[in-house]
């Protein structure tokens, strides 16, 4: 007991050895300082982690949202019959003979008349004016004419994609200084773009082709879209779901409910935990060696990608399925066995339905993991393939070459034109939207169906 409690109200005359409890001595101060320092380190560590998350997310959003908008130029094109249908018989075979190149004069003429109509003063020649449009514009016009041959001879209003430099200028990526050494656009053309913008015919708008369209070649970043590779990812996910879920659930049921304690079981368990930690690229090597070199399955096919990703996600699904089987209390099994069910019946009729929400959650998380995986896809040839046409039919969807979302993003990041970087970030936004949705569904499922026994 301290002196204070014995002599209430009286201050101690002689200082006790340790000093007053109200006055911290140097050592206590040092220890307390160390304490708060230590705590600060912890807060700083978490702060850095969260800061990185914020930086990453803001970076993705600021760099990627541009891809969802594209600069368009509105033009009224006179579809001259004497150019497009020389014989005048509206025969589709004859119209097809006019190549994409043959449509260029129509667009230049339309641009020229538009300039006159708006009263824009420019020194540019019509050909240089046409350069601000995308190379995809002629193809777009040709496809329209081939689809609607009746429109020949009329004047139709079109919304054309502009060149990626013009688009970059409208988005602030390209400036008059940065194009000093750029052969594909000049300062005069940018002035012309300014005039068109002020006149209201050149504007930025939402670009659905980025989400649903096909990839384009190196020369036309403005026309590239992620839609076809999204289909490739979708078909891969079908394969993963169709194989990984039944195999994973069967394997988990065996290991959790039936496996005897023996060496085989041990080997299986060790294998599963090791496969979960094998680098993903090793699965790519396996896919290349077994599925492509040995079994001669088609290169770049979503089927092969799906098989590789199945092997990769199996451990994840097995681990989560086992956890949810384990969470079903033994009393359920005992009750079923007690009324005469066999062990198999108890598992399939009672334990499995109760574990289903947990299994589903684990499967969705496994699928999300597989959806974002890139490295194994590099080795089975899903990168470097230009996904320019959607697969025709379901069998072709599995077997014909395609890309996948992450592979497409990687492909764009390798191309020389910086306009593709914007698309890579945009692709990441779409990929992350898928992942976030899947994970949210998983969390909601868990909340909704979670049972406390």
């Amino acid at each position: 007991m301290t002196d204070m409690s014995q002599i209430p109200g009286a201050a101690p005359t002689a200082k006790p050895k340790g000093g007053s409890l109200f006055e911290k001595d140097a050592r206590t101060k040092r220890r307390n300082a160390a304490e708060s320092r230590f705590k600060m380190y912890g807060i700083a560590a978490i702060g850095i982690g969260l800061l990185m998350l914020i930086v990453l997310v803001t970076n993705i959003v600021t760099a990627g949202t541009g891809a969802f908008q594209q600069t368009y130029l509105e033009l009224d094109v006179d579809l001259k019959a004497d150019k497009l249908d020389k014989k005048g018989n509206r025969n589709i075979e004859d119209i097809k003979k006019v190549s994409t190149f043959g449509y260029a004069p129509l667009i230049s003429a339309a641009l020229e008349s538009e300039v006159k109509k708006l009263g824009i003063q420019t020194d540019l020649k019509p050909k240089a004016m046409g350069k601000i449009l995308s190379k995809a514009a002629q193809a777009e016009l040709r496809n329209y004419v081939l689809a609607n041959p009746d429109e020949i001879g009329k004047t139709v209003s079109f919304r054309f994609l502009t060149n990626s430099r013009v688009d970059g200028y409208m988005k602030g990526r390209v400036s008059r200084e940065s194009i000093a050494n750029d052969k594909s656009i000049s300062v005069e053309q940018l002035d012309f773009v300014d005039q068109l913008r002020d006149a209201g015919v050149l504007y930025k708008a939402f670009n659905p082709d980025f989400i649903f369209g096909a990839d384009a070649s190196d020369q036309r970043p403005e026309a590239a879209g992620i839609g076809v590779s999204m289909l490739g990812s979708l078909f891969m996910m079908f394969v993963v779901l169709a194989l990984a879920l039944p195999i994973g659930v069967a394997a988990s049921i065996y290991l959790e409910e039936f496996a005897p304690q023996n060496r085989l079981t041990d080997i299986i368990e060790v294998n599963i935990s090791n496969l979960a930690a094998v680098p993903s690229i090793v699965f790519g090597i396996l896919g290349l060696a077994v599925f492509i070199n040995y079994m001669h399955l088609p290169t770049s096919a979503p089927l092969v990608g799906g098989l590789v990703l199945t092997l990769m996600t199996l451990p994840t699904i097995i681990i989560s399925t086992r956890a949810s089987l384990k969470a079903v209390p033994p009393s359920i099994r005992d009750a079923a066995l007690g009324v005469g069910a066999s062990k198999m019946q108890a598992v399939f009729h009672h334990v499995l339905p109760l574990a289903a929400p947990g299994i589903l959650t684990g499967t969705i998380i496994g699928l999300a993991q597989a959806l974002g995986e890139t490295a194994p896809l590099l080795l089975i040839g899903m990168v470097g393939f230009i996904a320019s046409n959607p697969p025709d039919g379901i069998v072709a969807g599995f077997l014909s070459p395609n890309s996948a979302m992450p592979a497409q993003i990687y492909e764009w990041s390798k191309r020389a034109d910086p306009a593709f970087y914007e698309r890579a970030w945009g692709g990441i936004i779409i990929l992350l939207i898928f992942l976030v949705t899947m994970n949210t569904i998983a969390v909601l499922l868990r909340r909704r169906f979670e049972r406390r026994w």
């Binding site: 982690g49 998350l53 990453l56 094998v278 690229i281 090793v282 396996l286 451990p315 590099l378 890579a424």
Partner: protein
């Protein structure tokens, strides 16, 4: 008949078998299910499973074995002198396959009759022309031996496919008939079906073993091929990585290993302190609310695909570092020439590993018994002293295990280094230089046109096997430590 039709027929057979078996069992007791040994549906399942399982098993084995047998027979047909200089049997075989598929395509599109396709004495030039006219892709002109081999390939493949369909369907019918005949009220259908299902479950569980065997074998064979073409001494102990597709390459793993380890060490230098302090704070200091917000947010970092980190390194972190350390940068030091550098890849990989280290360490710190904390606090130690002198020493083995697991992740990581580390293999201590890693080289040697007879391609398998062994060793060791540590306190 396509494979999908075969599968559909099998399925239909199984469904018919199910109802047939069920009704036969019921008929054997005059419709009173109580006299049966098992529930009626088990008799049905018995017929369906006996029809389906052996047939599908044979189908899978046949599909795997047939290409191998056909390939080896056909490649024996090609005389050695028919293989041109600088080519090999594998390349000729792929040409043979291409011609065979081309003939198939031409016949099915009607550009050629079956008799023309099978004509062994056909004029090569006319044949090549008609194949090309039919839109089939040929890389070189068809020669006589290739044509003969392709025709043999076609005939063997089609005979094999027909034989397979006959065998599989016969097996399914036999199985169904056998099980149907056995169906009787005394027959213990449930026991048989459950035995069968158990065998299927075991098979599913064994796929994990099959995958591991597949990984090891696929890399082992190609690695052995590689060591026949290239000296193993150079691979393990050489000092230069200089692949040259014209021959005379120097392919040593050591510079790659150096780059891999260097980047991994930088990543761990970022991830371990941050992750560990975050874990200590979350498990020892943070209130329930803070923990429930900060922990899932940190774990988002672990759920982001590596391609995103790769792009982040390539387009954001790299240029940012160059603007600091590069020529004319903020610091004015001019150390960094390009955004591809060890530091770029290491920093970003470190960010990726933060949640990995923190959640593993969090689990381990939480496993330290409360009595140890209480004892230390009761003796008058401050909270941080308790953490440093009691909890961390107690949790150390587990934390070492967590760090080893993180290291194995860093060594096997591919996308970040492929996009941000560069392609130059060298021994250098400068973190601002570009260096390359094992995974990067695997990707670059195996993408594009690959020739599986050249050491420059095959080296990727040797690299892959080495990577597999390193990460496997690290994982097993780390799991051993973590498990041993857990037992200590349980």
């Amino acid at each position: 008949m396509a494979l999908s039709w075969l599968l559909l027929i099998l399925l239909a057979l199984a469904v018919i078998g199910y109802f047939a078996g069920r009704s036969r069992a019921l008929a054997s007791v005059g419709g009173d299910a109580r006299d049966l040994h098992s529930l009626p549906s088990y008799y049905g399942y018995n017929v369906a499973l006996t029809a389906l399982v052996p047939a599908i098993g044979v189908l899978i084995v046949w599909l795997l074995a047939q290409p191998m047998i056909v390939n080896s027979t056909v490649s024996g047909l090609i005389p050695d002198q028919a293989i041109p200089e600088g080519s090999d049997r594998g390349l000729i075989m792929s040409e043979v396959r291409r011609v065979a598929y081309g003939l198939d395509g031409a016949v099915s599109s009607g550009a050629m009759t079956e008799a023309q396709a099978q004509d062994g004495d056909a004029d090569i030039e006319i044949l090549t022309k008609s194949l090309k006219d039919a839109g089939q892709v040929l890389t070189q002109d068809v020669t006589q031996p290739i044509l003969v081999a392709a025709q043999k390939f076609r005939s063997m493949t089609s005979t094999g496919t027909i034989a397979m369909q006959v065998v599989v369907l016969a097996l399914a019918l036999l199985g169904a008939a056998f099980a149907y005949v056995r169906t009787h009220k005394e027959f213990r259908a449930r026991n048989v079906v459950e035995q069968g299902v158990l065998a299927l479950l075991l098979l599913a569980a064994s796929i994990a073993i099959l995958t591991t065997i597949g990984i090891v074998l696929s890399m082992l064979f190609e690695t052995m091929n590689f060591f026949q073409l290239h000296s193993w001494k150079d691979f393990f102990f050489g000092s230069t990585w200089a692949p040259n597709f014209r021959g005379g390459s120097e392919l040593s793993i050591l510079p790659l290993l150096w780059g891999t380890l260097y980047i991994s060490v930088i990543a761990l230098l970022v991830a371990v302190p941050i992750g560990l302090f975050a874990a200590i704070y979350l498990s020892e200091y943070a209130s329930g609310v803070t923990r429930s917000i900060a922990k899932p947010l940190l774990e988002i970092l672990a759920g982001i695909p590596t391609i995103v980190y790769g792009l982040f390194a390539l387009l954001t972190v790299g240029p940012a570092l160059v603007s600091m350390f590069g020529d004319g940068g903020v610091l004015g030091v001019g150390w960094m020439a390009s955004s591809n550098a060890v530091l770029t890849a290491g920093l970003v990989m470190g960010i990726m590993l933060i949640p990995f280290v923190s959640s593993l360490s969090d689990d381990i710190i939480n496993a330290v018994p409360q009595s140890m904390r209480d004892g230390s606090l009761g003796l008058g130690a401050t909270h941080s002293e308790t953490v440093r002198n009691v909890i961390l020493p107690a949790a150390l083995p587990g934390i070492v295990g967590a760090i080893l697991l993180a290291a194995s992740r860093a060594i096997g990581e591919t996308m970040i280094v492929v996009m941000a580390a560069g392609a130059i293999a060298k021994f250098s201590g400068n973190p601002f230089e570009a260096m390359t890693t094992i995974t990067t080289r695997i990707v670059s040697q195996l993408t594009g046109d690959t020739d599986f007879a050249s050491p420059e391609t095959l080296v990727a398998f040797a690299l892959g096997l080495t990577l597999f062994i390193i990460t496997l060793g690290l994982n097993i060791f780390a799991l051993y430590i973590v498990r041993k540590y857990r037992e200590q306190y349980e």
